[in-house]
């Protein structure tokens, strides 16, 4: 048998099957990578688009709570804009009236649920603030939350990469 004949036969038998080895390599690497950052609880808090959260070294995992977002322009409660941040910064005193009335609505709702169905009202609120936010705005938002029956405040941050 000549060498040329042997080569031709080999080509003919392999032509049916595409090369899967490289694809399997890729899939295996992908699988390992995805398994590594697999989370069992999913995203409990989805950060807002227009803010950059500050970075912190905390290890505590997020919890669900009423969502308060403080961006550079607006203060939002559960996605609904209630007050403008620059105006809130200029206010005298620590209470932002619009924010307080909105929060009290949620607090009353929570209390009602507690009375009727026994679902405990925890008064938890998660605050997402832009990292360039002035402390003056932040402290006012927190003081207002405290006044409006939401004393359990949590600041949402990005966890530092190890």
């Amino acid at each position: 048998m000549s060498l040329r004949g042997r080569i031709r036969r080999r080509h003919a038998s392999d032509a049916v099957m595409p090369q899967l080895t490289s694809m399997m390599d890729m899939f295996t690497i992908l699988l390992v990578f995805l398994l590594k950052n697999f989370s069992t609880h999913g995203q409990l808090i989805s950060p807002s688009q227009d803010i950059t959260l500050p970075v912190s070294a905390v290890q505590q995992a997020p919890e669900i709570g009423l969502d308060v977002v403080v961006s550079r322009d607006w203060i939002l409660v559960n996605g609904k804009p209630v007050a403008r941040t620059p105006e809130a910064e200029k206010l005298e005193g620590f209470i932002i009236p619009n924010l307080r009335s909105e929060l009290q609505k949620y607090a009353n709702e929570g209390r009602n649920l507690e009375e009727k169905y026994g679902k405990k009202f925890s008064g938890k609120v998660t605050i997402q603030g832009d990292k360039r936010l002035a402390y003056r705005a932040l402290i006012k938002v927190m003081a207002t939350c405290g006044q409006a029956n939401f004393p359990n405040m949590r600041l949402v941050v990005y966890q530092k990469e190890e």
Binding site: M17, L35, F38, F94, L133, R136, I139, R154, L155
Partner: protein, 174 residues
């Protein structure tokens, strides 16, 4: 003759059936992609700012338990950190305890200073977990969060030691 048969044996071997494995991959990868966590979020638990609790029942509580307390406080200003307690301010004549170095606050210095304070105050005060953080109105959020980080733990010789994890936020008196 023998060699040619051996070769035929190698060439005619059927390739492994990859289809089930590919099916598995195709299902697993979208599943893991949807539940993957690319940015890790965390939360910092906060206690009520003393400014509010003081107007309510907090003031009465404080008066009742007027044991000697450390009342450690860190004030963030644009010039640096001021560390103070119920007894004294750790600064000389309006200069910050830890001045800003090259435009950056000295977080490592703060951790070390608080560690020293914790060592000295051990067994003397009941409130060795608590710290009050005050900031000037212009200080940005990231600086406040980094200060909390610096006040929470310190790495000493590879070990993580707890400093003052219970943070109270407060506003500066104008």
């Amino acid at each position: 003759m023998r060699t040619s048969r051996k070769h035929r044996y190698v060439f005619d071997l059927d390739p492994i059936n990859m289809t089930p494995m590919m099916n598995l991959m195709v299902v697993l990868i979208p599943l893991l992609l949807t539940s993957a966590e690319f940015v890790r979020l965390g939360i910092i638990e906060l206690n009520l700012p003393p400014a509010i609790s003081a107007t309510g029942m907090g003031a009465a509580d404080e008066a009742r338990s007027n044991a000697r307390k450390l009342d450690l406080a860190v004030t963030i200003t644009d010039r640096g950190f001021f560390i103070s307690s119920s007894m004294a301010v750790l600064a000389n004549e309006g200069e910050p305890t830890l001045p800003v170095l090259n435009g950056v606050h000295d977080y490592n210095g703060l951790s070390r200073k608080l560690w020293e304070i914790k060592q000295q105050a051990r067994d003397l005060y009941p409130d060795l977990e608590q710290i009050i953080i005050l900031a000037e109105p212009e200080i940005d959020y990231q600086t406040v969060v980094s200060t909390m980080d610096a006040a929470r733990t310190i790495e000493i010789e590879g070990k993580t030691e707890i400093l003052f994890p219970e943070v109270f936020l407060s506003a500066t008196v104008r």
